[in-house]
Amino acid sequence: MAYSEKVIEHYEKPRNVGTFGTQKEIKERQDIGVGLVGAPECGDVMQLQIKVGDDGNIEDAKFKCFGCGSAIASSSLATEWLKGKTLDEGLEIKNTEIVEELSLPPVKIHCSVLAEDAIKSAIADYKEKNTK
């Protein structure tokens, strides 16, 4: 399968790879929201973490991804887009925008869907931690 240049670029130099701590540490931190989506048996798992600043904006984002090049590129792109956004702006990111930006072929659209899910679930996790 031929990949678009943008996918290859993200794959070779993924942005914002990492985590803000171990799974245990992250659970206890109020300023961090985690989205873990996908499943190993489907061939993709994405983990997206957002760090929310005192002003309520997304200050930093990090990802890890088990998946094909398009899944890695989609999650890398998502972290780039999230940084500096408000939570509401983050929720507005659509998978179709990711498809467009990375020129994903039809068989890879699920990667962008997964990235959108990861964003939504990271934001939801943050909100849940902070409503109590």
Binding site: M1, Y3, Y11, P14, V17, T19, T22, Q23, K24, L36, V37, G38, A39, P40, E41, C42, G43, D44, V45, M46, Q47, K64, C65, F66, G67, C68, G69, A71, I72, V107, H110, L114
Partner: protein, 412 residues
Amino acid sequence: MSIKLPIYLDHAATTPCDPKVVESMMPYFTDMFGNTGSRNHSFGWDSEEAVSKAREQVASLIGADPKEIIFTSGSTESNNLAIKGAANMYAKNPAGSENRGHIISVIHEHKAVLDPCKRLEKEGFDVTLLEPGQDGLVTRKMIEDAIRDDTILVTVMWANNEIGTINEIPQIGELCHDKGIIFHTDATQWVGKMPTNVKKDNVDLLSLSAHKMYGPKGVGALYVRRRRPRVRLIALQEGGGQERGYRSGTLNVTGIVGLGKACEICAQTMDSERERLLKLRNKLESSLESRLDVVQVNGHREKRLAHATNISFGFVEGESLMMALKEIAMSSGSACTSASLEPSYVLKALGVGDDLAHSSLRITMGRWTTEEEVDYAIEKIVEAVNKLRELSPLFDMHNEGIDISKIEWAAH
């Protein structure tokens, strides 16, 4: 020594043509282009002579009589002719009725066996697909347990194309002969690499393909036993009655000459090649296993082809691994590469966990694979796996002692 990129390590998919094979074919394109059916001039006689020689070369590689070789367009056609041809010939009831007979095959066969079996199922035959265990081996015992009074055909591949596992073909053949059941084997990955004797190995029908043994694409053969038992088939295509009526159509003389030459070369070189490639394969596997953890070699550890390996690297997805290794041509168990998003059905059938099935590479070496190339592949694979594990949330979880199989993954 510098090596030429990209490196080809996908010889189970196809092999390059040996230059000696190409050379042998050349005159038959331009000078000796006759139709073997032209019985009254020298052009026809020359072609006929070339085809007879090739028939002897093929027969001699597998211990058959030249009269028992039917030339085809490759293993797909040979399998179709053998399976449908035998089923229809030995059917218990006529076309259009039910209970026409029982056929035994195996779930990890090539599609070129499974799909003809499925077709026959629609046409009134009963098909049992056996599921071998973790090592992928098909044993005589498994077949024995599946045989019924109405079993007419057993078809089991000699060596598996994804994991290289070698099945108990001579033993299964003996069993079938005892029971009077026709026995076919898809030997596409086996012939030319391992000594074969259809007489001693009790095979009735055997498929082989030139492009897996350094011959040209689009040509192969079906061995059809003529004595004890004399196997008969119902032909799939009708016409000029070539190949004893089993395969009508003007013979692909150039291709057949190439197949013959390829067989001759394999007969001379296979033993030393096997030894050489086994050393390289062992080096490849032991280096990867010692330098990376959570590495699993799929299939039976000993009973498999010497030039092949199928390895899963935990926590790394196969397609991204191939992307990192784009200067090495290999095959990934994660069939994203073939555009269907399923992990290999063969690995799944072996009970390889879905996550590991998504993480496998099939590496198959060949006649021109060098130690330098294997060393290069080892370095690159280690580098790529490490890079992707840095990226993998599953690897973090593993390192933190979290059992991935116990997580409730949101189904997607």
